[in-house]
Amino acid sequence: MLRRNLPDPVFLEDKHMIECVNTSKTYKSGGEETKALDNVSFKINEGEFVAIMGPSGSGKSTLMHILGCLDIPTSGTYSLDGHDVSKLSEDELAEIRLGKIGFVFQAFNLLPRTTVLRNVMLPLVYSGVPKEERERRAKEALSAVGFPEDRYYHYSNQISGGQIQRVAIARALVNNPSIILADEPTGNLDTKTGEIVLGTFQKLNKEGRTIILITHEPNVAEHAARVIHIRDGNIIEDRRLKQRIISEI
């Protein structure tokens, strides 16, 4: 077992928000099997800010898909917020994604031809929240990420890249999820705008949100409090680090 060689991560005596036990994912293409994830086990507690880091092809995207309930493991288990979600059907996974996970992607985060406010309200539409409450909660989420109030009714193509990512974070927040899963959220941004977005994550983490950041850049990962390093489908390092705090935005 690889994990024996690693220093044990120090867990707080908290609730396990995420628990992976011997989680593996195998892809078959043309009769050849590729192990994208090989018996990965780890826990993430409520309120943590974790970066999952690794080069491309390391299996971090596969791990992100499983953590985000977009896919299920081939073997092993994955529990989210106390529920085993590794055997669920497609529609059951959609329900989990709707209620427990907030996604922020690298690109194509917002619906085109749609206002900022409507973009943020989208998860609430799918969860059947009444109209008045949708608007109130979407505005709350937008103000939590520091999005300027005078642009709520701008279309998604009329705002800057940094603002797009903050709207995406607001949308991820709006359903009050268990975890926020960000896949290379600063990949398309310049350093300065990227810092602002990462600062937003830190602020939300300070408010008690569990945040998982997937990245291949070490200087992005160091904004988190813990880094899980992945290579060739295995965890090669799992350590706490001194967080690089970005001053309030």
Binding site: D91, A94, I101, Y126, G128
Partner: protein
């Protein structure tokens, strides 16, 4: 996700691709429009044929000499050659219960000369006083041939409006004299225009004289070409028809299998014509239906393109938590909204077409509620049928692959 949300999403998506949506909708508009126009013109034509036949007289049984053999139709020369209907038959027929009027008629063509110098060849009908009641003839001017005219063998004539105009133009015709086959006749009336075409020429082109004058002076014959019988009410028609058959067979002393006369019921003719116009309507509507089908395929084509173009959007929606049902409903709603809007515009277009045709070509057209309901049903149905496959394709996309789609 409630109906309001779906409609708003759908509207946004359709408006974003305005030109494409309108062009695709055009297929449905043309399809529904032509179905509506064809059905309403067909129904209108059938209605006007029915009313013009009913205008020739209601509850009418027409007895003609000679047999109508099944499959061969009536040989028209039979009327001229068969001389089996006699004046004496009329007396017997009048005694049959249920018979309202009996109108013996003899029709021949003669040259008619007016004092203006105009002349025309037209059919002259020798009639009794009941002719007007049986054939629902009303007078525009003057009076029809009366019982007194018949008994006194008066040489008087009533003209149809077309023939009166042909002979005298705009002039007042009453009291003028015309010459038929070297005999002078005084005009005592002009009949009202009926428009419809009857058997043996339009009533508007007829000239009426009294039957005894026709038989003795003009034709020199004692037989009849037709006996028209008007029945008291519609329910009694089959019964009266049987009674007439039995009476005439007995009177003419002919074989039951091989009678020397035939009875044409107006009802039979009406139902045959109804059948013909019905078939024509269905035929035209199915041609229009093909264009509707082509329109539907256009919808499917557009929806498939939309699904491909919006693959990443579908991926994003699914990642956020949209279920398969949410996605398929959204795309199904798009195609239904497209076809339904097309249907509404198509109904209006079809109504305008049939309105234009009826006012310019003179064919009556009636847009029935049934055909409108049918058009809406069909257009919504096309939306569901041709939108189902693209919607299913959208909903079964894998979110991971959809998000990676370029």
């Amino acid at each position: 996700m409630n109906l309001n949300d779906i409609l708003q999403e759908t509207y946004t998506a359709l408006v974003a691709n305005k030109t494409r949506s309108i062009l695709t909708m055009l297929g449905i508009i043309i399809g529904i429009g032509s179905v509506i126009a064809m059905i309403s013109l067909g129904q209108g034509a059938s209605g006007s044929i029915t009313s013009s036949i009913q205008g020739l007289g209601s509850n009418l049984l027409t007895i003609v000499p000679g047999a109508i053999e099944p499959g061969r139709g009536q040989v028209s020369s039979g009327r001229g050659s068969a001389e089996t209907l006699k004046n004496a038959d009329v007396v017997v027929l009048e005694k049959i219960p249920g018979v309202a009027y009996v109108s013996p008629e003899l029709v021949r063509r003669f040259q008619i000369i007016a004092p203006t110098g105009n002349n025309t060849n037209s059919s002259i009908t020798g009639v009794s006083q009941d002719y007007a009641s049986v054939h629902s003839i009303t007078m525009a001017q003057g009076s029809f041939i009366t019982d007194a005219n018949i008994r006194s063998l008066s040489k008087v004539a009533v003209l149809g409006p077309t023939i009166a105009a042909d002979l005298f133009g705009e002039e007042n015709t009453i009291g003028k004299t015309i010459r038929i086959n070297s005999t002078n006749f005084k005009i005592i009336g002009i009949s009202e225009s009926k428009g419809g075409s009857g058997f043996g020429g339009s009533p508007d082109e007829s000239v009426y004289v009294s039957l005894p004058v026709m038989q003795r002076v003009l034709a020199g014959a004692d037989y009849l070409s037709t006996i028209a019988v008007s029945v008291e009410n519609e329910e009694m028609m089959p019964q009266v028809q049987e009674e007439i058959t039995a009476t005439l067979i007995q009177k003419h002393r002919v074989d039951v299998e091989n009678p020397d006369f035939s009875i044409i019921s107006q009802k039979d003719i009406l139902s045959t014509l109804d059948q013909i116009t019905g078939i024509l309507t269905i035929f035209l509507a199915s041609i229009a239906g093909i264009s509707l089908l082509v329109g539907g395929i256009g919808i499917m084509n557009m929806m498939l393109t939309t699904v491909t173009e919006r693959t990443r959007e579908i991926g994003l929606r699914k990642a956020i938590g949209a279920t398969k049902k949410n996605i398929s409903l959204q795309f199904l709603a798009e195609s239904i909204l497209l076809t339904f809007t097309g249907g509404v515009i198509g109904v209006i277009l079809g109504w305008l077409i049939s309105f234009a045709v009826s006012s310019f070509a003179g064919i009556d057209a009636s847009v029935s509620l049934r055909s409108v309901a049918l058009a809406f049903g069909v257009s919504a149905g096309i939306g569901i049928i041709f939108g189902y496959y693209p919607a299913r394709r959208a909903s079964s996309l894998n979110p991971i692959e959809a998000l990676r789609h370029e």
